[in-house]
Symmetry: C2
Subunit: 388 residues, 2 copies
Amino acid sequence: MNGMNSHGTDFAVPQGFKLAAAAAGIKNEGLDLGLIYSDRPAVAAAMFTRNAFPAAPVILCRKHLEQSGHSVRALLVNSGNANAANGEEGMAAARRCAEELASIAGCTPAEIFISSTGVIGRPLPADKICAAIPDLMRTMHGKTGDEFARAIMTTDTFPKVAGAEVRGAKILGFAKGAGMIHPNMATMLSFIITDARVDFPDLDNALRKSVDRSFHSISVDGDTSTNDTVLVLANGASGVSLSPAAFAGKLLEVCQDLAKKIVRDGEGATKFIELAIEGAPSDEEARHIGRTIARSPLVKTAIYGCDPNWGRLICAIGNAGVPLESERIDLFIDDIPLNGGDLKLASERMRSKEVLIRVSLHSGTGNARVWTCDLTEQYIRINADYTT
Amino acid sequence: MNGMNSHGTDFAVPQGFKLAAAAAGIKNEGLDLGLIYSDRPAVAAAMFTRNAFPAAPVILCRKHLEQSGHSVRALLVNSGNANAANGEEGMAAARRCAEELASIAGCTPAEIFISSTGVIGRPLPADKICAAIPDLMRTMHGKTGDEFARAIMTTDTFPKVAGAEVRGAKILGFAKGAGMIHPNMATMLSFIITDARVDFPDLDNALRKSVDRSFHSISVDGDTSTNDTVLVLANGASGVSLSPAAFAGKLLEVCQDLAKKIVRDGEGATKFIELAIEGAPSDEEARHIGRTIARSPLVKTAIYGCDPNWGRLICAIGNAGVPLESERIDLFIDDIPLNGGDLKLASERMRSKEVLIRVSLHSGTGNARVWTCDLTEQYIRINADYTT
């Protein structure tokens, strides 16, 4: 789906933050290590994977945030290796990287946030990572996050950056993740930095609400991973204090922008699909129905084939297990009715690269938007041959 | 996967049953209507889809079984049209077919079992079905179920029949379903007939236990449908009474045979995958873990590509949400260790059309077997263009 949209990466870096990227040799080629540094302690809120086997950096960072009282000075992230399912050795490797960065950055290891993405079950080359840290610290700058965004890519085909500005405070967000994406934030990393002044409870609250309506509202293939992380850092360097609602609103914008970019880059995808669920008993149930549709391979292959097979939509809705008052369900592609409508016209409209499916349930006032992509032969090709 | 196994259909028909098939014009060509008739009332136990929008025949048959006290004289099943999402008209069409058959078979409509499979949301051509009933009743015979098995096929590439005999009593089972298969019995129909003498509580109990370890232990694509039905009819014509355990054991064999045939015919599949889960806290949790692996597109594409990407297995196990005592998980392809093993050897073994994956969890004595298939480009092609 390259070229479908302009995937701009040209957003201003919030004050007090510096970024860097390096080719540390973890991947065979290209940037694979990124650093974000704050010149003062930043308030940190994070959400992690719910997978029962979280990767070593996830386990370590949960501890670090507790120990440091949710304060972070620097973030180190590598692609090419997930450091997951590596047992005690994986934990030791993650700790070693954090200690190395802490000693150079002049902070405690607990103020370091470590993140990894890539293949599961291979030893993390901590030597290569530690060797690259001095260079990262020397070359970091506050001009652009473009190279950082590239360093965290795996099967992504374009870097994912989003930004916002509100009354002099800036928000800048990065994300990676193209497959293995599902509501529980599968192999998805997102790092968001802001120079707004926000205290921890407001930051944490804003993050949780935003993630529900962004990263938790997308699906590429229904799989979830061991490494998912969303981190937001607020260092207050702008001196601007926003109302919690104003900050949360802007954070949601950035998160939704990033989440949609992940879907647009869905492995093998040819279409971006927006599901608008209306008239559910509650917003949460609307979102649940949207997610159930978004993970149906039959719906996703039908959309790929421009096949207005609305029976599969009904079937997917029925599988969500949400009790509905009305037996009547109205389905639309844009404004074209699907059930009882002109299916030839609907099929033509489905040829677009952006497909809006509206589901009207007549069972309440709950609404949700969920984003997904089609399922194609190319997804199979990409994933049938990843490690070997 | 044709030719991979001999999919024999040559099993003896239990006493007192007759079968027939016809090309009623519901599909564009070929057999699309099947009849099973018992010369005396048969005890009936059934399980249906858990989809919130069950098809008209499912709603009707639930009522019929209640009204008749679980007694069935004849079963009428069509392929090519699911009679789902058709509202009141769909119910009327199903009722009309049942009434027509009842009047010719000389029983009450409540003793008729109706079933449909095919495209959702298109009016059922009840005229064509009713017109074909007299011919079905005239041509039915007790020689073979081969034509009946063919009449219920949709995207199936071969008819699915299984049989067993125990101390003079026969069991004969039919199934259809190739995509949309997941533990909740998605677009899957199975009809099993026996001339053993079994009362309703034993029949119902044996069916529920067998389905858990057969049709509920397979997955093709994780999608579930509006029409799933498993029906077992026992007419007692052999005069043979079996112990409940002996009957249940044979029924399980027939159900597992049919369930595996469905997986072998998985849409676009090139490999039959058996997942053997050992050392889970309980059998049920072992089955749940097996099902979670079986619905992971990343695992299924890796197996398609003969890629021993065991990290995806670990990840899928972690997504099952089952608390495990041990952090150690041992994974094998046959007897070749995957984590810490010779991955080249494992990849070579994966070239086989039958792949056994063993998961040893070291967290208890719970075991399960789950069957699935790989996910291929061909699955996408079949499903991107089904209705149009």
